[in-house]
Amino acid sequence: MHDFAERVLSLLDRREVGYADVRVIESRDRTISTKNGKMGTAASDESLGLGVRVLVNGCWGFASTDDLSRDSLAAVAKRAVEIARASARAKKEDIVLADEPAANVNWISPCQIDPFSTSIEANLDLLLRADAEMRAVQGITLAEASLNFRRARQLFMSTEGSVIEQTRVITGVGIEAHCYADGDIQSRSYPNSFRGQYQLRGYELVGEMDIVGNARRIAEEAVALHKADQCPQGKRTLILDSSQLGLQIHESIGHPIELDRVLGMEANYAGTSFLTLDKLNNLKYGSEIVNVVADARLEHGPGLGTFAYDDEGVAAQCTDIIKDGQFRGYLTSRETAAMVGAKNSGVASLRSGGTMRAEGWNRIPMIRMTNISLLPGTWKLDDLIADTDDGIYMETNRSWSIDDRRYNFQFGCELGWEIKGGKKVRMLKNPSYSGITTEFWNSCDAICNKDHWTLWGTPNCGKGQPSQTMGTGHGAAPARFRNVNVGVAYGG
């Protein structure tokens, strides 16, 4: 890896190239899934490639290849420079990077059990046992279970002298039970929808999730949903479980705080943000108990947004996003931190927040969520429900949508419970809720404590052109919101 990166950097004419970095990535993936008692997917994937990013005459160029021969490396270095020269045709200002000290690091994410050391037989046996438990419940028409493992070793090397090697191991596990009957499909997932829970951990996560032990319960819930009443429509008190709250954070806090969106760089695709620069330190984002951080450090937890250094060589940091309800910070890069600092010194830090990440060797880094987490509150969940006279508790995401400036959102969940007099009194099907971001977060009046807090992994966050998929982390404990619009998705 070092030879490839050094060679590319050595081929660049430093009289023309103001800055360059090279990322070499070697990755390995395993996907095993089952469906209705049979193997669904059994696939292994390995990849090795290199991407080089250059600043020439104040403009970016990027090129990548998986051909690591000498000729190819020379060609890719040349191509990156040519592309940067072409970028200058529409230059307004030179790109400037916020200062960052060079680093020389070798970091490996903690992993107790290497998932690739586990046998396929053992993987399949686990999934098929969970599958059998789900299908043992009468009425289940489709049972699915999956395991996903990834190990990526990345070398980052820059003309500023950074040499950063990181190895990250990710494990994902999940099950889904579906029930079709009488023109209706109901589903339950565990530990989360859309292929389960993902963390920066080894196979030990799989054991902790105990998919076999939870399979029958979720299957029974999927069947029971058919007989449940429809979620009512109107303004209600809402309690969200931690996984749904994780996605709520992702969509209505994580994306709007991306400074590239704020500055218009995503206007054509992912959209912009209501969090214009004047809002920083000048917006009551949520109620006073709402505290949100962007924390990529390992001490925050083994999230999909945990690393030692981002993909432009900036150390992992914890940034206050919302402090006591007030909007305090953006997700930034070296380029955007410098832009904002230059425009309005004092509005934002001149140092990058360290959030630049790329899907792989063939993609350019961009601002991505790290672990965007709601810090825990003080409530026990049982006490919170007992304290709720009339409300709805919603579990596990089923659908999600938000406008391109991140104001109006609507979420659907797999299962709801009506709460009356401090007790769950009846199951509700097809629960949904909608709102405006800041109104919603300002209506938060209770957050559960750290015993209920989970760092969820969202492995499928899409952004950018060409599109990049990234894993993000979201820590959350169940929380209560007042006067929320529920049920409109099925409204007449």
């Binding site: 072409a86 045709r89 230059k91 489709l142 218009g264 054509n268 104001y407």
Partner: protein, 444 residues
Amino acid sequence: MIDPQRCQEIFAELLKYSQADETELLIGGGTHSLTRFANNTIHQNVAEEGYALSVRCVFGQRTARATTNRFDVESLKRVVAEASTLARQQQPDPELLSMPGPQQYEPVHRYFVATSQASADERAQGAVSAIRIAERNRQVAAGTLSTGEAMHALLNSRGLTAYYRGTNAEFSFTATAPSSTGWAKQSTPDLRDINPGELAEEACRIAARSAEPREIPPGRYVTILSPAAVLDLVGFMFCDFSGQALRDQRGFLTGRVGEKLFGENISITDDAYHALQTGAPFDGEGIPRQRLNLVEKGVVKELAYSRQSAKHAGVALTGHGFSLPNEMGEFPMNIVIAGSTHSIDEMIASTERGILVTRLWYIREVDPYKKILTGMTRDGTFLVENGKVQHGIRNFRFNESLVDLLNAVEMMSKPERSSGEESFPMVVPAMKVSSFHFTEATKF
């Protein structure tokens, strides 16, 4: 780009190391370059080249796949060994079919040198010409111009050989005015078909026309949907036009095939050979793609099948399977929706009160059987009254059933190749529907 001869050489080498009863090789990849602009300047400019080879081994009734992007001999040995190990550890699948033998394919020509050879300078020039138009309109440009070439080959030990190459070019443009936005997009295999200036002018006109958007109450409205909006909506239903989905009872067609589910004026085909379509004439198992009448005069007629799902259903092969092994089976991806001859202007002129939608965004499925979708309008939403576009309006959230939507189509334009964000490009018309349920308004 990897040519057919090189594919054969790789496969011959691969077979030396395979002890499997049957062996299949997929090779895919190519080049893709994209120039991205925002704030009237190019801010990202990238190029990539990459290929992957994927090996599937079969031992008895067991199969699995391993993939690598390394083509040296040691990597070929390793990927075969990995696929073999994975396959041997599977449980037998009694429904696994032997690989297909040689097939005949209808030729398609979707490779254009003007696209594959486009330079960074050409893309930058296209971007600059569009940016200048935004600047002349005192608006701000954001968008992309991309070009690329891709190949896809499938070979197996029973003698099947399939090879496809094609090019793709895409231009997408968002114009931002002080209080509004507009958008236009086009994708085609031939870069020469794209006129960035025309598309930029269109987006700027939409932005200007929707200035100072006013809030109107949500509710059910007569609605005119652009082709891009139509494709982003209907794209959510085609994964259910699948024999495997029917077997899994996972989609909205469970128990409905043969029913008149949509309006009499709705006819939909899957046609990989349509002049405006792209992609290979074979599926993930190397089976030739067949034309399908998915919907005829509102009746759900035919589904897509893989070899395995076709055998289970007792029907002929359609050539729509994904590469094995997989969970989804198959679905149609060369959609052509029959339209009519009405222009969007005629739709507007015929509307007493309604909404005109340029683009939809962040569409997600709320209910899998009722096929309720939610999403937002964006980049140019208008109130139409008395046959004329009156003014821009604040964007709406919608919750609408696709089944209801396709029973409410009153007018359609001539179908065109269109690109959106939520689904693959299709050949679709604009539609005027008698009712579309907007449930909330947002802040802009």
